[in-house]
């Protein structure tokens, strides 16, 4: 599957993508924190929803629902995963 890379902040709500890496702009301590949260290459991220004033955004990755501000989401480079973008979020369908 060949996908284009983009920043996590550009993804619309409902989209899923795979983490490729972190931007070089990330300050070391911020980058370290994002890694600590599980944003390492290969991690699947789903955009759950944005706050009413567009920021922050709720994401799902590494089995966790996590809010990030755009300032941090901008630093995460992802590759769109076509299959995940089409499929609905798994948990929603489970009664």
């Amino acid at each position: 599957m060949s996908g284009t890379t983009r920043s996590l902040v550009e993804l619309p709500a409902g989209a899923s993508a795979t983490v490729v890496g972190l931007s070089d702009d990330a300050e070391p301590h911020v980058a370290r924190r994002l890694v600590d949260l599980g944003l390492v290459p290969g991690t699947e991220v789903t955009v759950v929803r944005r706050a009413p004033l567009r920021d922050p955004t709720l994401y799902r990755f590494a089995d966790t629902a996590m809010c990030l501000r755009a300032a941090q989401a901008r630093l995460v480079t992802v590759r769109l995963s076509v299959a995940a973008a089409v499929a609905p979020r798994a948990g929603v369908t489970v009664a």
Partner: protein, 651 residues
């Protein structure tokens, strides 16, 4: 102390410097660490701050099945041992045993949420690298299973190389397995080789551990997803948010009022009983007015604090506080704060004291300090009687601005001024603090909705109430007595009173005369050079000084000084008040300019000993309370001077 619990015999070179061995609880925020801490320690808990910082500290003790006791330290939540905030620095320093004034931990217990184990294993890898006896406690294991996930405990224990137990802090017996495990901490198994801590190595270690343990992730909670679709909805979610916050505000503002009135009435009856029994002399009044007044001044806050913490604990455990913070984060960002500061801001509309105490839920010490220092500017309920009195004197009841009641609009304007000033002050505080600390990225976990645990709610309410009574009670009682003495000493003899034409039998005349010749009056006159530019006379100065006990005291003191027939409604007596000396003698004191200056002064001045005492406790010293008292006094004076000049020019 049993032999295997003796720190001297511990493996891996760990030693406890304290008399009792210390067990440190480490875990990510929301891992269920505090509920396990509560299940271990019950109410045998001390809360406070780590030495010299505003990072909250919880310590408790726990008696183990073998009869020995251990100290348990509930460390601030952290995702890793690479600290980027003061709070996380505390965790790392304590685990390394290099935190001044705190012992070295004998054993470390890592608490991990079984449903988010993947994230917690990274923290575990960091802890294992320290080489101390370590155990892993899994919370929410029942939830993992209920949501279709699974995990083999024995295989997980083999994969990580340390003891692994399940605990459910929501049940009384929830920590039983951990309690049984703890006495043997010196002989806990340790991994042969510590896991790698570099990001790539750690990621592959986590993958292999999860595979070995047969871990499969829990499905996203269907119920949570359904509820979130409403509660985080741009329209419905915001409507629910305002409804919840309205109910929250109403509860701490209105529901606490009857209890506070009952306390006030009870104290008054007690005071009357005391003077009735022992006669009305100065030493008796020191007890009946000074001491009992002080005790009443402490107790009156308890209903609000207790209710606030019931609500915060319930909302937090249900999971709604994170949702509220998510909705409000963008707004709070304007003040340089994050969404979680919102609860403190809201509570402060009732009273700054519970507001300051509510900042304990904030994970970042820097933003917590900025919030604590700025919330005293929010219009608290004690300002309300002062505003009501001054506005009624400033603006006629039938005045209309654009069809609205001018009095109501002014009141609204004062609330708005307080809120905007708070946001600006927080902005300044975060900028000043930001120069010294690195900027924290904002990350907040959104836990699934869960039923609150009654035990944890009880603990969450009891600890702040106990802390308030214990630590702040003494300061508030002492300051109330001192203020009473300043306002009522020296005692005027009957002969002295008669020689000045005052009937010693006329209570309000005696009170007015005594106050006019009190130490406080002397201070009020001495303070004239400071307050003259604002248009205050010495009596106003005395009332401003007396309002340090509680802002609403301003109204009663003005009534007493002006010998109003009804001291609780002194507006008529005040309107007739004129300067009794000096260049303005004979002119009315309460001109529009002076009233506006007084109003603005009360918006900014930190005119509340109880708030200062709370700040001292929550920041761990006098430095911050005295700094903000001075800063807000200067700000209040400057803004009042502006108001006096501006209104004086138009009037």
């Amino acid at each position: 102390m049993s032999a295997h619990c003796d720190p001297g015999g511990a493996q891996a070179g760990s030693t406890a410097t304290a008399e009792r061995p210390m067990v440190a609880l480490v875990g990510a925020p929301n891992a269920g660490k505090s509920t396990i801490f509560n299940a271990l320690t019950g109410l045998r808990v001390k809360t406070g701050n780590y030495p010299g910082v505003t990072v909250g500290r919880s310590q408790g003790s726990c008696t183990l099945p073998d009869g020995t006791a251990v100290d348990v330290e509930d460390l601030p939540g952290t995702y890793s041992l690479e600290p980027i905030s003061i709070d996380e620095r505390i965790v790392v320093d304590l685990l390394h045993g290099r935190l001044d004034g705190v012992g070295e931990p004998g054993a470390v217990v890592v608490v991990a949420d079984a449903t988010t184990l993947r994230t917690s294993l990274r923290l575990l890898a960091g802890v294992l690298a320290l080489g101390r006896p370590t155990a892993l406690v899994l919370s929410m294991h029942d939830e993992l299973v209920a949501r279709g996930g699974r995990l083999d405990l024995d295989r997980l224990a083999r994969a990580v190389g340390i003891p692994v137990v399940i605990a459910d802090g929501r049940k009384r017996s929830g920590a039983a397995e951990l309690r049984d495990l703890l006495p043997g901490w010196a002989t806990w198994t340790a991994p042969v080789v510590a896991p790698p801590t570099d990001p790539e190595g750690c990621t592959s270690w986590i993958g292999s551990v999860l595979t070995t343990a047969g871990y499969s992730s829990a499905q996203e909670s269907a119920l949570t997803a359904r509820i979130d679709r409403v509660l985080l909805h741009p329209v419905a979610g915001v409507a629910v948010f305002f409804a919840v916050m309205f109910g929250f505000f109403q509860t701490i503002f209105a529901l606490a009022a009857p209890a506070q009135d009952a306390i006030g009435t009870g104290i008054e009856r007690l005071a009357t009983a005391v003077t009735g029994t022992f006669g009305d002399s100065a030493p008796v009044r020191l007890v009946s007015d000074g001491l009992l007044g002080g005790v009443g001044g402490v107790l009156v806050f308890v209903p609000q604090i207790a209710l606030l913490f019931v609500l915060i604990a319930a909302l937090e455990q249900v999971g709604y506080l994170s949702r509220a913070a998510f909705l409000m984060d963008r707004v709070m960002a304007l003040a340089g704060l994050e969404g979680r500061a919102f609860v403190a801001l809201l509570s402060s509309f009732a009273c700054a004291i519970p507001g300051i105490m509510a900042t304990r839920t904030m994970p970042s010490a820097r933003e917590r300090l900025a919030t604590m220092l700025s919330v005293p500017l929010v219009t608290c309920s004690a300002r309300l009687p002062v505003y009501t009195l001054l506005i009624s004197m400033l603006i006629p009841a039938d005045a209309r601005w654009a069809g609205m009641s001018a009095r109501g609009a002014t009141m609204f304007g004062l609330y708005l001024l307080g809120a905007v000033s708070m946001m600006l002050a927080a902005r300044v505080a975060t900028l000043v603090g930001g120069a010294r600390h690195t900027l924290m990225p904002f990350t907040m976990e959104m836990p699934p909705y869960r039923l609150p645990a009654l035990r944890s709610v009880v603990v969450a309410v009891w600890l702040p109430v106990k802390g308030f009574l214990h630590k702040m009670g003494t300061v508030i009682v002492a300051s109330t007595i001192v203020l009473w003495a300043l306002l009522n000493l020296p005692v005027q003899s009957a002969a002295e009173l008669r020689s000045h034409g005052v009937d010693p039998g006329d209570g309000s005349a005696v009170a007015a005369y005594t106050m006019e010749h009190s130490v406080a009056a002397g201070i009020g006159r001495a303070a004239s050079p400071v307050f003259d530019p604002l248009g205050f006379d010495w009596r106003t100065n005395v009332a401003v000084i007396s309002s340090l006990a509680a802002r609403e005291t301003f109204v009663a003191t003005m009534g007493q000084i002006t010998a109003a027939s009804d001291p609780s409604d002194p507006s008529q007596a005040l309107e007739d008040t004129t300067f009794d000396r000096g260049p303005h003698a004979g002119e009315p004191v309460f001109t529009s300019a002076t009233l506006a200056a007084l109003l603005v002064f009360f918006v900014y001045a930190l005119q509340c000993m109880a708030t200062i005492a709370t700040l001292r406790r929550e920041t761990g010293g006098w430095r911050w309370p005295l700094t903000v008292f001075g800063a807000y006094f200067a700000l209040a004076w400057a803004m009042a001077f502006l108001a006096h000049t501006a209104v004086g020019a138009f009037a």
